[in-house]
Amino acid sequence: MVTPWFPTNELPYRGAFVAAMVEAVAPRCDRVAVYHSDLWTAGMSPRGDRRAQRAMHALAPAAARTHRTAAGVPVTHAPYPIRPGLSFAELGARHDRALRAALGGAPIDAGIVHAHTGIYSGWSALRHMRPDARLFVTEHSTFVDQVLAEPQARVMYEEVLRRATRFFVVGEVPRSMIAAAFPQHADRIAVMPNAIRFDLPRPEPVRQLRRWLFVGHLIERKNVAALIAAFARCRARDDSLTLTIAGTGALYRSLVTQAKELGVADAVEWLGAVPPATALDLLRSHDLLVHPSRLETFGMTLVEAVAAGMPVLATRSGGPQETLAGIESAVGELVDVSAGVDGLVEGYWRLRGRWPDGLDLAEGARQLAERYGYPAVAEAHLRAWHGAPAPVAVS
């Protein structure tokens, strides 16, 4: 696996979906190794940036190190410096250099290379594969349209699409963007969902929809300001409501101010960034996941929430209506992004009106497990890599 995102101490939630995919497929493979090209951002002048790159090439052979995940999968952490404002093409090149520095010039020792994202790891994997290796790519990005708007990045992306044995996306949002840009490759783009754990029991079932939870980045796209506004309006009717926010981001300070101004500061708990295991614990100790995003390619947290036995209140932001197709009303409420704060407030009271008999979380979880559970996603990957039927587990 080659990936630009994998959970680290600095960003413990970033790339949780890649870690889940690795965890799902590793038991069914002879050997799995992960290369994580981790771009370290720092405010540097172009000159400082060049110095940092030279210094990294001097240090990387000695300092790049392989760790093991809880499941025993080796992960080679390959950091590389960047400064803000670089183009996507340049970022792709930096991932390439990170991988080069970590590999010490040797090719990736694998016949199958699965890269996450086209422009970052797909591009770098192409440059470090053995000649006989086959490349598989999964695109997760919400910003594919921005990548493809850059002429040089578009050329790089096309090369990855052309040379990959199979090219996957996690949902319709990135698929439509890529297919529109490269209609000649549209029929080669297939959907490969993220893997979700369904085997962690909830200690106590949800009884009342009072403890709200949000898990994600505090960025514009996640629309957390609308969540806080909706929470304040709902709390005005029921002052027992609480909101827990797990995540960090550029909007943290303004959101804290907003909560104060709306008079709900004492009902909102800010946990900051949490590692994936803690996020799963949070899902098991809250009543309702609220996911007000403006755009999602998959909406992994929603499926994790249902797997954790909790209902969801989410916007139709692309991924959620795909991942929850057919079971929307069984697991919660979906509202239109354009409905804004009003939509979230009305959605919450509708959901409360239907709770608990109007939902069927157990059936929703069963159906989602068939689509996104570890065995299903592992099987889908093995079929893609080796062709059907999937080989028998060997390790």
Binding site: W40, A42, R51, A55, A63, R65, H67
Partner: protein, 189 residues
């Protein structure tokens, strides 16, 4: 188990959370953690755990003659003059003048001209100051290079003296086993 000693070079301060977590892991395992930062003020939002030994490079640099003279001429001497003259009826106008001097001249000169030129001309000095203050006579079991600025600093120290870090392996991140001191850092590769 021997008491492990880990040096974190975090002069850029752009990955504070990771340094806080990993240094806490070292301390929790009974080890000793030393963190080199540029200036501690930048770490307010993600405080280092109690028990960590902190070395500030800005404090080290003040020992260098160029920084010491700059501090004396641009900041300390005018402050002395203000203390002498700023008494009685002159106190308010002199204090006001001093504030304007600091805002309009001294700070701009320091940040905009002196420090960039100083940093450009004294890269080896910085490496030498860090080496002297932190590495001389100390034996570390691992050296964690934590951010892009630290990559530059550690590479400069190694260029100046390939044996500056002794036998301590460099790493970008401690493995769990290294933090706990269960294995030698080299064994984790």
């Amino acid at each position: 188990m021997t008491r492990r000693s880990v040096l974190f070079v975090a002069t850029g301060g752009s990955r504070r959370r990771a340094v806080s977590i990993e240094s806490a892991e070292v301390l929790a395992a009974g080890g000793r953690a030393t963190v080199i930062v540029d200036h501690l003020g930048a770490w307010k939002s993600s405080a280092l755990p109690d028990g960590v030994e902190i070395v500030e490079t800005t404090a080290l640099e003040l020992r260098h003659w160029a920084r010491a003279w700059e501090q004396l001429l641009v900041f300390a001497a005018p402050a002395f003059v203000v203390r002498v003259l700023g008494r009685g009826a002159l106190m308010r106008p002199v204090t006001r003048l001093h504030r304007a001097y600091l805002r309009l001249f001294a700070t701009r000169l320091h940040r905009g001209l002196f420090m960039p030129v100083y940093r450009a001309l004294t890269r080896r000095v910085r490496a030498r100051l860090i080496s002297r203050a932190v590495l001389r006579g100390a034996a570390y079991d691992a050296v964690v290079v934590s951010d892009p600025r630290s990559v530059i600093d550690v590479a400069a120290i190694r260029r100046a003296d390939p044996y500056a870090f002794g036998a301590a392996p460099l790493t970008f991140r401690l493995t769990d086993a290294e933090a706990a001191g269960a294995v030698g850092a080299g064994a984790a590769r």
